[in-house]
């Protein structure tokens, strides 16, 4: 849990530090993804479809306000549809104009929902959007999500009926127009999804605003349930062609995505709720303060360190061993003479010589061609000496 908190904190810090860079990148990515999807599904105008034009528009979008980008995307769609059929372009233009005049004119903040909903359909995660918009938006987001569903279905229909809509004969022009209008009016799948999405946004918004514990979790759960039930009901009543398997999988994916969203946007610690009550001249105040979850990395690491560090071992007192006479002498010399290493070696050699009749050479690292310093009583390289071994005196090992 703490590692998740640290990731969240790191991401927040990173976003805060690089905000000036990240926002244009985000805008660029949204515009680029939307344009590429538009080009791949209804890219009928070759000039607009080309990669340089797509890149230029996406780059321009990264410095423009998001709402202006949405207007540009709208015109790109109309241009592509115009290359297919003028009548269809007229219908799409009329649809966009009506949506703008009646809704997006004064709810410009919600326009993002109108773009992200079709994109979520393209990325096969359409059921994420209503709950996300309910968590982050206002009740009016239900209209923008509904508009997003309508836009997607219209474009999807145009992409799927290219031959039907693109015949060049004059007599068929009215037929094309009628086909598209029928597709908008009598599209049962679109109606079912628009209704269920709108209801879900409203349910999620109402529950997340309730002054109860775990309101966001409950809102997500209720939203997913309502999404499931209302979509199933609407699909049954309207006889719409909605795959129940994809609906169930979509709802599960939506739950996971929205739980992640909740973690980043509204992570509260309900165990530390504080309730205070006070008054002034006019009112009594009953305040319930719910603290946010805090990152306690320093404290935890200190605690961990404290746990990892082995506890000091209490040793039983060893009986003091009487030092041999030679050891006493060595200690005295070492304290008296600063060159104690050499002294110690000489002393050791003397003691060993006394014990064994010959001192043992100290192992040294010797480079090729390097002469070893000769110690008194030591054999020269290549010289062999006969050594008479005598049993060692007990206690002489202490000096090694």
């Amino acid at each position: 849990m703490n590692s998740l908190m640290s990731i969240k904190l790191a991401l927040k810090k990173f976003a805060g530090r690089n905000e000036a860079l990240l926002i244009p990148i985000f805008k660029f990515l949204v515009a680029f993804m939307a344009l590429s999807r538009i080009n791949s599904t209804i890219g009928y105008m070759a000039r607009l479809k080309s990669a340089p034009v797509t890149l230029i528009i996406a780059l321009a979008a990264s410095f423009l306000p998001l709402n202006l980008t949405i207007v540009i995307l709208g015109f790109v769609v109309i241009a592509h549809v115009y290359a297919l059929s003028m009548e269809c372009a007229l219908v799409v233009f009329a649809l966009f104009l009506v949506l703008y005049l009646l809704y997006f004119r004064f709810a410009s903040k919600d326009a993002v929902g109108g773009v992200l909903t079709p994109l979520s359909f393209v990325f096969k995660i359409p059921y994420v959007m209503p709950v996300s918009m309910g968590l982050t938006g206002t009740p009016s987001s239900m209209v923008s999500v509904g508009c997003g569903v309508v836009i997607y279905e219209v474009l999807h229909f145009i992409a799927g009926h290219k031959e039907e809509l693109s015949s060049g004969e004059e007599a068929d022009k009215l037929g094309q127009f009628k086909t598209l209008i029928d597709a908008i009016i009598v599209n049962r799948e679109m109606m079912a999804l628009a209704v269920s999405f709108a209801v879900t946004v409203l349910v999620v918004y109402i529950i997340r605003r309730l002054p109860i514990k775990y309101a966001w979790f409950m809102a997500i759960a209720a939203g997913e349930l309502s999404l499931l039930i209302v979509t199933l009901m609407a699909a049954t009543v309207l006889n719409a062609d909605i795959s129940f398997g994809s609906l169930f999988i979509g709802v599960i994916v939506s739950t996971i995505v929205n739980l992640i969203l909740q973690y980043f946007l509204f992570d509260l610690n309900y165990n530390r709720i504080e309730k205070v009550q006070f008054e002034d001249d006019e009112y009594y105040y009953y305040v319930k303060a719910v603290p946010k979850n805090e990152f306690v990395a320093e404290e935890r690491s200190e605690k961990k360190r404290a746990v990892r560090r082995p506890a000091p071992q209490v040793r039983a007192k060893q009986p003091v061993r009487p030092r041999p006479a030679e050891r006493e002498e060595y200690v005295e010399r070492r304290t008296a003479n600063p060159d104690h290493e050499q002294q110690a070696l000489r002393t050791a050699a003397a003691i060993r010589g006394a014990n064994a009749g010959q001192a043992q050479p100290r192992p040294t690292l010797q480079r090729p061609g390097e002469r070893t310093l000769q110690r008194p009583g030591e054999a020269r390289p290549g010289e062999t000496r006969t050594v008479q071994r005598t049993p060692q005196r007990p206690g002489s090992d202490n000096l090694r």
Partner: protein, 134 residues
């Protein structure tokens, strides 16, 4: 001497001025009736254009049938029907707009009031600092 509390307050106020503040000031420069009335007038214009577009699309959609039955159709009855639908649509849309913009006006006023209270608080902080210096 830097005063952390004062700096926090000033940062919050500056952020408000840059984002919501501008819009709220333009909203609160009007009386409630003027502001909401103007928005309702705009809504009537927009609703009229939208209704005309929908009617135009419908006429084009049903053009053949309309031409075939043009002499059989009671034009006044058709006009009355279109007008009735227009009034219902426009009035219901204007009611929604009226409620939405009334709420928006109330919020803007409330935010501005909070902003001016913060301004007063900031002034008093400066006065206290001045007195401390003296």
């Amino acid at each position: 001497m830097l005063d952390e509390k004062r700096i926090k307050l000033m940062t919050r106020m500056a952020s408000y001025e840059d984002n919501e503040g501008r819009k709220n000031t333009s909203v609160a420069n009007h009386f409630r009736s003027d502001y909401v009335g103007l928005e309702v007038v705009k809504a009537i214009i927009c609703a009229t254009i939208a209704y005309m577009i929908v009617c135009g699309v419908y006429l084009y959609y049903d053009f053949e049938e309309l031409m075939v039955n043009i002499y059989k159709t009671d034009i006044w009855d058709l006009a009355a029907k279109i007008l009735k639908n227009y009034v219902i649509f426009t009035v219901s849309y204007c009611v929604i707009v009226y409620i939405a913009f009334s709420v928006k006006y109330g919020k803007a006023k409330k935010n501005l009031k909070r902003y001016f209270n913060n301004l007063k608080l900031l002034g008093s902080m400066y006065n206290e600092q001045q007195e401390d210096k003296e």
